[in-house]
């Protein structure tokens, strides 16, 4: 039975989530050097085309099609066969399935775009497109089915992920680690300094991401109801707390509060609360945001200790945020907040925390191994990295024959 309010809300939420990808493009684009800004923006922006195409003809069916052994959806819905105005009660009984499909499409689009921050400033465009397309089919779609698909094996074990802590942030975060390891460090790493070329652009992007996140988390209720309200409130409070904590920690640690810190902390809080947003109350959301702001700050410092070059901190913010948020859900989840959810450790249910930890291990392991092998294979067959001269010249000219700033 289609409800107009729910349908309108999810359509708007889908548009909000779409906007996150251009927002991410600006967030990342501001952090790279001026010679790489267009190439970096393009890597996120083009995902709207590549992944939407994949989603319509393959991805939606693999993710949400009829279950095959708990592992993958069948091809019955490929090309959107039978996906129209009628609701699909397995997922959202009050909106047309086409609305659910296009809403989920936006999640699939932003996930590979998130990975691009790890290999920013050094990957060729062609191999990047191939990687993103194959990654979406081999990593995103199966994991999406395991956790959100009717019959998915992790869903059947009681794993919860409200809006993509596992499906989006952990898969992209672990793929980012694989990419940083396979591609190696940028030319001049440790000798040259890769300073952000336009932090106002990064803050604009962070603002657009935050705005879109209300659709990402709020819309994941798939109805305009109390659960959507819970998620919406939790999203804002965690973003706020993440920003406050990150800025506070860096002020103490480095003696200065920074704008990039404010943006990073907000994104860390938003990413971390994502899996928990529809299942926890406002106070838990604040705690989750505070933890995210503090721990992701340390997570970003880790790349310096281990000397891998995750250019824009996808591992430290999205990967760690996905892990942290999924475990925090195991701690703070409460049926008093959302009867359709679960009780976590603090509500006396330790087993649920174990279930969430298991999901983290499985998803991180699967995404890392698949991403690593995929990148290695494409590297051997085609070559992932720019030639040294092209890397010095920058992505914009070498890959796109454009310059962002023609004075």
């Amino acid at each position: 039975m289609i409800q107009a309010g729910d349908t309108a809300f999810i359509l708007v939420a889908a548009a909000l989530v779409l906007l996150m990808t251009p927002g991410l493009a600006l967030f990342y684009g501001g952090m790279v050097r001026g010679k790489n800004v267009l190439g970096t923006i393009m890597q996120s922006f083009i995902m709207i085309a590549v992944v939407s195409l994949e989603w319509v003809y393959l991805g939606y069916s693999l993710s949400f099609g009829p279950d095959v052994g708990g592992l993958i959806g069948g091809l019955a819905k490929a090309g959107l066969s039978g996906v129209g105005a009628a609701p699909n009660p397995d997922y959202a009984a009050t909106i047309p399935e086409s609305v659910f499909m296009i809403y989920q499409c936006m999640f699939a689009v932003i996930t590979p775009a998130l990975i691009t921050g790890a290999f920013a400033e050094r990957m060729r465009f062609g191999p990047f497109l191939l990687f993103s397309l194959l990654w979406t089919v081999l990593v995103y779609d199966p994991v999406c089915h395991w956790i959100w698909g009717a019959g998915g094996w992790l869903k059947a074990r009681g794993v919860l992920d409200f809006a993509g802590g596992l499906v989006v942030h952990l898969t992209s975060g672990t793929a980012a680690l694989a990419a940083a390891l396979v591609l190696g460090r940028r030319k001049g790493y440790g000798r040259e300094q890769f300073l952000p070329h336009n932090l106002p652009m990064t803050l604009l992007g962070a603002g657009l991401l935050w705005f879109g996140w209300f659709g990402f988390n709020g819309g994941s209720a798939l109805a305009a109801d109390g659960v959507a309200a819970t998620a919406f409130v939790a999203t804002h409070l965690a973003g706020m707390a993440g920003m406050a904590m990150w800025v506070l920690v860096e002020w103490v640690h480095r003696g200065r509060p920074t704008t990039l810190g404010a943006a990073s902390g907000a994104i860390a809080g938003l990413a971390t609360v994502t899996p928990a947003s529809g299942f926890v109350g406002p106070n838990a959301a604040v705690v989750i945001g505070l933890l995210a702001g503090g721990l992701c700050y340390v997570g970003v410092l880790a790349k310096g200790w281990f000397r891998y070059d995750d250019s824009l901190d996808v591992v430290g913010i999205h990967g760690l945020g996905g892990v942290l948020g999924t475990l925090c859900l195991g701690l703070f989840a409460s049926k008093a907040v959302n009867p359709g959810g679960a009780d976590g450790l603090l509500a006396g249910n330790a087993a649920f925390l174990g279930t969430q930890a298991f999901a983290v291990a499985v998803v991180a392991g699967y995404a890392f191994v698949l991403s690593f092998v995929l990148l290695k294979a494409i590297d051997l067959a085609w070559g992932l990295r720019l030639a040294p001269e092209a890397e010095t010249e920058g992505l914009d000219l070498s890959e796109h024959n454009e310059a962002a700033y023609n004075a």
């Binding site: 952000p196 480095r254 920074t258 970003v300």
Partner: protein, 112 residues
């Protein structure tokens, strides 16, 4: 004729310009430059990591004067630009072989 090149702290430009005006210097060319001497760079912080940025923004003045005026100009710039702190800058005096005014073709001291 001499060319005086002075590298100074940007915030001192107004003081130097005023002081040179007072001793009758009418023209100068200035450019925004970056560099370092003993001061070395400044610190920037991005996501908890500290970076030392070697090249510090400075202002370069270029002034052409008659040789007899050069010492007075140098001293005027030195006094006006001085803060007593590291990074106050340098002044160079170079010989100038010829000056030509484009509009009239005047040469030498008439062209200054």
């Amino acid at each position: 004729m001499k060319k005086i090149e002075a590298i100074i702290k940007p915030f001192k430009l107004d003081d130097v310009k005023e002081a040179l005006n007072e001793i009758g210097i009418k023209g100068m060319t200035i450019s925004e430059v970056k560099g370092y001497g003993r001061q070395k760079g400044h610190k920037e912080i991005y996501r908890g990591a500290e970076y030392v940025v070697d090249f510090i923004p400075k202002v370069k003045l270029e002034i052409i004067v008659e040789a007899a005026q050069a010492e007075k100009v140098v001293e005027t710039i030195r006094e006006a630009a001085n803060t007593g702190k590291i990074g106050d800058g340098k002044i160079f005096v170079l010989p100038v072989e010829e000056v030509v005014r484009v509009r009239t073709g005047e040469r030498g001291r008439d062209a200054i």
